[in-house]
């Protein structure tokens, strides 16, 4: 038995008969033990979030103004800033740099709380965090310098992937150690999701690294494996972590247990079973065997089960507590994220069928869809989680309520506008590309009508893309507000409160103060 757990068991001789004050002290000690690793993950993820947003705005601008930032002063024309490098740099920065890093931070905290033990082996986590950031940095630099592998979602050079994989393996080892030392009792549904995600992702990542880059298969099989991976990053890594967060934070903030625990278990297993089969729908009508596409379409349609169970469960848990959206920043972001999850999934199901996919595939609609999933769902969920976790780590209030509100409204409005622009532009583009929306309707002389030329279709998307860039700037303002609040908090600016509101009314009791101080 390690010294920490010995100390804990001395503190809690009998886990079931503790006074409220002891319970709070225990929880505060657990939160405090997460401080170093979580701050490493959250702090660096903030950096990648800012960088990723800037790259996004540059890439978005280049789509409608191709001469934007093609040449640098003194350097002339450089490949570093071409659209084809900025775009994957944006994707990898936000996926691996921001979202995954933030997710790892949230995982650490959730694991500690749900296993009800203090974080052990902090050095593993700090090493993993440092390696992870090194990997993202090397990978992003590699992409910008023109060493991209050219496989979507896996553009980082293999060296970077190796570093990332090592880091992730460390995380998994740590998680297993935590699980092994957990306090007895039921495994809460969030732990199921985290455990699944921590197991699925390294397998997925290792498998595609070997099959696509180290010992690459050829042609069409590459396409199938590529999209099996890219879809599962979302389905088996980000979605479980996002849902684990929602399943913990919604009940915790509102103070109401999950409406139906049965539904949450059903949701978990149906997600595990169906999501991993979805990737093939990215190749509808493409040069791959039709059965792969059919299987993926069926699995995509079956996704309605996990999605609806989660939606019903969260809605019924929230029912009667919607007024808290006014007063709780965490709940605002988390509920917004949970609603977006339903939207993203239903949209994804609707896009999987052959007939709809023919229109939306190859257009901005798909890009919009991935932003519903990654931004409106996952990123908002992580924001919500960070608003809840950070004060408990550092024992300090968020300095400014106003900045939180700016953050929420800029990102929510910006995100929604972006989705509308991409969806609208994408549908217009798609209908014109497959000659359903014709320039001239069929007549007797011209029985198939006149389709739009490619250049006319391109011109049609430009106004939508301008709107998208504007929404990106709005989102960036929101992120800056968050960043300022975050940094001010770390610098301990603002008011040190003796009765920290975010830590709960009761935590002003002198006993807890003694623990936190």
């Amino acid at each position: 038995m390690s010294p920490i757990s010995a100390q804990q068991s001395a503190l809690n001789p009998d886990a079931d008969s503790l006074t409220p004050a002891q319970r709070m002290a225990e929880r505060a000690a657990i939160d405090r033990s997460c401080r170093t690793p979580c701050l490493v993950f959250f702090g660096t993820s903030m950096f990648w979030l800012m960088l990723g947003t800037i790259l996004a705005i540059i890439a978005s601008t280049k789509l409608h103004t191709p001469e934007f930032m093609v040449s640098l002063p003194f350097f002339g024309d450089v490949g570093l800033l071409t659209f084809g490098r900025i775009r994957p740099a944006h994707l990898n920065t936000v996926i691996y740099g921001w979202a995954s890093t933030a997710a790892l931070g949230v995982c650490v905290w959730l694991m500690a709380r749900l296993c009800r033990v203090q974080v052990m082996n902090t050095w593993i986590l700090v090493t993993a965090g440092a390696l992870w950031n090194l990997g993202v940095f090397v990978g992003m630099l590699g992409i910008l310098l023109g060493w991209s592998t050219g496989v979507e979602w896996l553009e980082m050079p293999t060296q970077a992937a190796f570093i990332l994989f090592t880091s992730y393996a460390l995380m998994s080892v740590w998680a297993i150690l935590m699980f092994a030392n957990r306090k007895p009792g039921h495994i809460f549904v969030s732990q199921w999701y985290i455990f699944g995600a921590l197991f699925w992702f390294p397998w997925l990542y290792g498998c595609v690294q070997i099959l696509l880059l180290l010992q690459p298969v050829e042609g069409s099989v590459q396409g199938i494996i590529n999209w099996w991976f890219a879809h599962n990053v979302l389905g088996l890594w980000f979605t479980p972590i996002g849902l684990a967060t929602a399943y913990y934070l919604i009940p915790k903030v509102t103070g109401k247990p999950i409406h139906s625990y049965y539904l949450s278990i059903l949701g978990f297993w149906s997600l595990a079973l169906f999501y991993s089969w979805n990737g093939g729908h990215h190749l509808v009508n493409g040069p791959v065997p039709a059965w792969i596409i059919s299987v993926s379409i069926v699995a995509s349609a079956m996704m309605i089960i996990p999605v609806v169970t989660v939606a019903i469960n969260h809605h019924l848990t929230m029912k009667g507590s919607f007024h808290l959206l006014k007063t709780s920043p965490t709940l605002r972001f988390v509920v917004f994220g949970a609603m977006s999850y339903t939207l993203a999934s239903l949209q994804g199901i609707s896009m999987a069928f052959r007939i709809s996919n023919e229109v939306t595939h190859f257009t901005h609609y798909t890009i919009g869809h991935s932003h519903v999933g990654m931004y409106l769902f996952f990123t908002m969920m992580m924001f919500g989680a960070m608003y809840y976790i950070m004060p408990r780590l550092v024992g300090w209030e968020w300095p400014s309520a106003r900045l939180i509100k700016i953050h929420f409204w800029c990102t929510a409005v910006g995100g929604v506008v972006m989705i509308i622009a991409l969806a609208g532009g994408g549908i217009e583009q798609g209908l014109k590309l497959v000659n359903i929306w014709l320039k001239e309707a069929p007549t007797e002389a011209n029985p198939s009508g006149t389709p739009y030329s490619f250049m006319e279709i391109l011109a049609g998307t430009l106004p939508w893309l301008w709107v998208r860039t504007m929404s990106g700037i709005l989102i960036f303002i929101g992120h800056v507000a968050f960043g300022i609040n975050f940094v001010l908090m770390l610098l301990r600016r603002g008011e040190r409160r003796l009765t920290p509101t975010l830590l709960g009314e009761k935590s002003s009791s002198p006993k807890l103060e003694a623990v936190t101080a």
């Binding site: 319970r23 007063t327 920043p329 709940l331 975010l502």
Partner: protein, 110 residues
Amino acid sequence: MKLALTALSLAYFSIVGLCRADFSPVEYRDDIILTPISYVPTMIMVVVTLLITVSVALALTWAGKSGQFENLSSSAETIFDEGEPVGQVTDKFPPHKPRKNKRRLKGVIV
């Protein structure tokens, strides 16, 4: 409740099946014919289906035995305790007092 859910998902599955028949074009077929008929994928699919069935059965048996289906609401309450009991809201915006804050802030920095 469980029965209703099972029935719903079955109904949904069959509706999807019916719709899919409609979505397929007339000339719909496998693009690749390596050998006239290859049974390998089919066989593997059968094995996979069996594996899934067995795993689901295993999971359900375990869940039933270990009492995951009994007292479900208590599982949902494991995240609450005496310190933060059911019914306690645990998150709020920080207070909004910009002017007072500024004065105090200086004191803190010094």
